[in-house]
């Protein structure tokens, strides 16, 4: 299936940028504790947060390191991230509009590179990871958090199918095995991996991408008509014929540049 053009991704996030700064899914930073453990952040570190979105990861990390650079493909998203940084009084953060697949940084200038809940938007994850590895110094670490799908093909197709209708800039959520292959393909050695399930209250999740009501309803219908294994796996909760919530799996990978 062809990927949406990047201009489309930018337009999509440009329209809904402030919802990401305020979104509970994206501002709930508990998963960051897990990521930080694997990253072994240091007060001297310079960190790049790729596809920072609303800036939650970058702003949280900024409190623990010397300097953070936050990049995103969408200028309006970075404006939101800058607003968040100002609200939190964070000053050691810089912003650059950049394509994850063609990062505008010199080689080996970052101690750590992070990318949280974003790679499923990238048309070419392999290129993005190879760029993240390039800008990481030898001995440095790359930390990734993203949605993953189960190995069972029907569950993979079910969830990715819904995500693409919910968010037309969605390219693909990968299986854990695919991620491990991407990381080793970028020359990175896995240090730590973990996964956890996250529950999404449906009404907020459904409205976030700015879809018209009829498309939101189409997405809800896809959940309501889920086959039994999908209903059980993704913990689809319904009440009075409406979807209340569902859960998906997020994986955390920390890998080292040799």
């Amino acid at each position: 299936m062809p990927s949406p053009p990047k201009g489309f991704t930018r337009a999509q996030f440009g329209r809904v940028a402030s919802r990401y700064r305020c979104s509970t899914d994206h501002s709930d930073v508990e998963d960051l504790d897990l990521l930080f453990t694997g990253l072994a952040l240091d007060a001297e570190h310079r960190v790049l947060d790729v596809a920072t979105g609303g800036g939650h990861t970058a702003v949280t990390i900024a409190g623990r390191v010397a300097r953070v650079v936050a990049s995103d493909l969408t200028p309006v998203m970075l404006m939101e991230a800058r607003t968040l940084a100002r609200e939190k009084g964070v000053r050691n953060i810089s912003f650059a509009v950049a394509d994850a697949e063609a990062l505008p940084f010199a080689d080996a200038v970052f101690d750590r590179v992070t990318c949280r809940i974003a790679p499923h938007h990238f048309p070419d994850v392999r290129s993005a990871l190879s760029e993240m590895a390039r800008v990481t110094r030898p001995g440095g670490r790359v930390g990734i958090i993203d949605s993953v799908v189960p190995g069972e093909p029907s569950l993979d197709a079910f969830l990715n199918g819904i995500e693409k209708v919910h968010d037309p800039s969605h390219v693909r959520s990968y299986r854990v095995e695919e991620w491990l292959e991407f990381l080793s393909g970028a020359g990175l050695a896995l240090v730590q991996s973990a996964s956890f399930w996250k529950t999404h209250p449906f009404p907020e999740w459904s409205a976030r991408t700015g879809l018209p009501k009829d498309v939101q309803w189409e997405v809800e219908m896809m959940f309501l008509s889920a086959f039994p294994l999908a209903r059980e796996t993704f913990r689809i909760r319904t009440e009075n014929g409406r979807v209340v919530s569902y859960s998906d799996e997020k994986a955390i990978f920390v890998a080292k540049k040799p």
């Binding site: 970075l78 650059a96 063609a102 010199a106």
Partner: protein
């Protein structure tokens, strides 16, 4: 745009050094002859949005 960021930036196309114009509105790659604008303090480092200069 902060100067510390400038030190680690590179042209997204050739990864070569970027230079800021005197008026601080653009970053230029002398190798690619491409100019990247700076909007409200944020550099737009996208090859597709760069302009050629002579």
């Amino acid at each position: 745009m902060d100067k510390e960021l400038l030190e680690i930036l590179a042209c997204p196309k050739c990864k070569g050094v970027l230079r800021m114009t005197v008026d601080e509105t653009e970053l230029r790659c002398p190798a690619c002859r491409l100019s990247y604008r700076i909007d409200d303090g944020i550099p737009i480092l996208l090859v597709d949005e760069a302009t050629s200069y002579e």
